[in-house]
């Protein structure tokens, strides 16, 4: 094995498959919330800073961000089998469930009560997502540089609705350059 012991603990692919499945099956609305809960709080495979760094990579690679995160963490903990376990666990169940829901929707259409429950649940799910972001923000270094980059990214995409590629194209190189030069 040329695998470096990035982490002292060795985790089996099956264990990681179960964790990925648990994250997938509880992830209503905000997968990052549940991924953080499982990986950082329950299993303690990562600390908060590592989680944020993997989230950042997962966000910037194409594809679902938490899937990217799980593939990288799975690979680190259990090698190739861990990466495959991440894909199977995190995508397999949702694949079957989403199609089942599509079938139910096709048959029963929109019942008003069901619709109202969904709206209420969505409002809470959005809150979970914001809270996860706030928790991750607590772990940023106490320095104006990273905070400025974070705030500019938020305003650019969230408020001004600028194209993602443009915002990333400007902020990412600058922020990486500043980190490389040891500005924080």
């Amino acid at each position: 094995m040329q695998q470096l012991p990035a982490q002292n603990e060795k985790v089996s692919a099956l264990t990681f498959f179960i964790s990925s499945s648990r994250i997938a099956l509880t992830s209503f609305g905000s997968p990052p919330f549940w991924a953080r809960r499982e990986l950082v709080e329950r299993k303690r495979w990562l600390d908060d800073r590592e989680f944020l760094e993997y989230m950042a990579l997962g966000q910037l690679l194409p594809g679902p961000n938490v899937l990217n995160l799980l593939v990288m963490v799975g690979h680190r903990l259990a090698g190739w089998a861990g990466a495959v376990a991440a894909i199977a666990g995190f995508m397999g169940w949702p694949f079957l469930i989403v199609i089942s829901l599509g079938m139910l929707h096709q048959r029963y259409g929109a019942i008003p009560m069901v619709h109202d429950a969904i709206v209420g649940m969505s409002a809470v799910a959005a809150g979970l997502l914001v809270a996860t972001g706030v928790k991750m923000a607590m772990t940023l270094p106490r320095h104006w540089h990273p905070w400025l980059c974070g705030v500019l990214a938020f305003i650019g995409v969230g408020i001004l609705r600028l194209p993602l590629v443009a915002v990333l194209g400007v902020l990412a190189p600058y922020s990486v350059y500043a980190a490389w030069k040891g500005k924080w």
């Binding site: 905000s30 990579l57 966000q59 594809g63 593939v71 690979h75 990466a83 989403v98 209420g120 928790k135």
Partner: protein, 176 residues
């Protein structure tokens, strides 16, 4: 979709889009709508919107709406084609990145990359959350529900499935 050449066109187009889906699949949603609804008339605009809403209900990544679009347009073959297209960048780029990262996690440039990207990604993450909050909530009731959820999540260690159930009940009671 009527035949296998349609399926191939669909697959190749989604394959291209998924490599562009940096920051999540919401980024390519407008392009998928143009391709499936306006150019090819594979599904109606209403079905497109419904697929998106239903996928948000299912557990798992938000990107599952892509699978459902494939299913609506082309049955099981369409669903599998859409999902395989969605996984292609993960199976190539991410696994490569994971390998580099596992082999040499402490290389100075890798560290600078992670440290530098972290705040930008966090800003984008919160921007996505902000857009979601605003697209779901049409009145102040919804915003209150969201705000309460944020505070409670930050203050307690309760399993958030309880909050989601409470939100569903509040919705059924006509609060939102």
């Amino acid at each position: 979709m009527s035949d296998s050449s349609d399926l191939l066109v669909f697959f190749l187009h989604f394959l291209m889009l998924s490599f562009l889906a940096v920051g999540g699949f919401s980024a390519v949603l407008p392009e998928m709508h143009r391709f499936m609804v306006e150019n090819h008339h594979w599904i109606s605009s209403q079905d497109f919107a419904a697929a998106y809403a239903i996928a948000q209900l299912a557990p798992g990544p938000n990107a599952m709406y892509v699978t459902l679009l494939g299913w609506k347009a082309g049955g099981w073959a369409g669903a599998i084609a859409a999902t395989v297209a969605m996984l292609a960048p993960v199976a190539t780029i991410t696994i490569w990145a994971a390998r580099m990262h596992t082999r040499n996690p402490d290389a100075p440039f890798a560290q600078a990359l992670r440290r530098g990207l972290a705040p930008v990604a966090l800003g984008l993450f919160l921007a996505g959350a902000w857009i979601l909050v605003n697209s779901i909530n049409t009145g102040w009731h919804g915003y209150i529900l969201t705000l309460v959820a944020i505070v409670v999540v930050l203050r307690t260690k309760l399993n958030p499935l309880w909050f989601l159930a409470t939100g569903a009940l509040a919705g059924m009671a006509g609060f939102v």
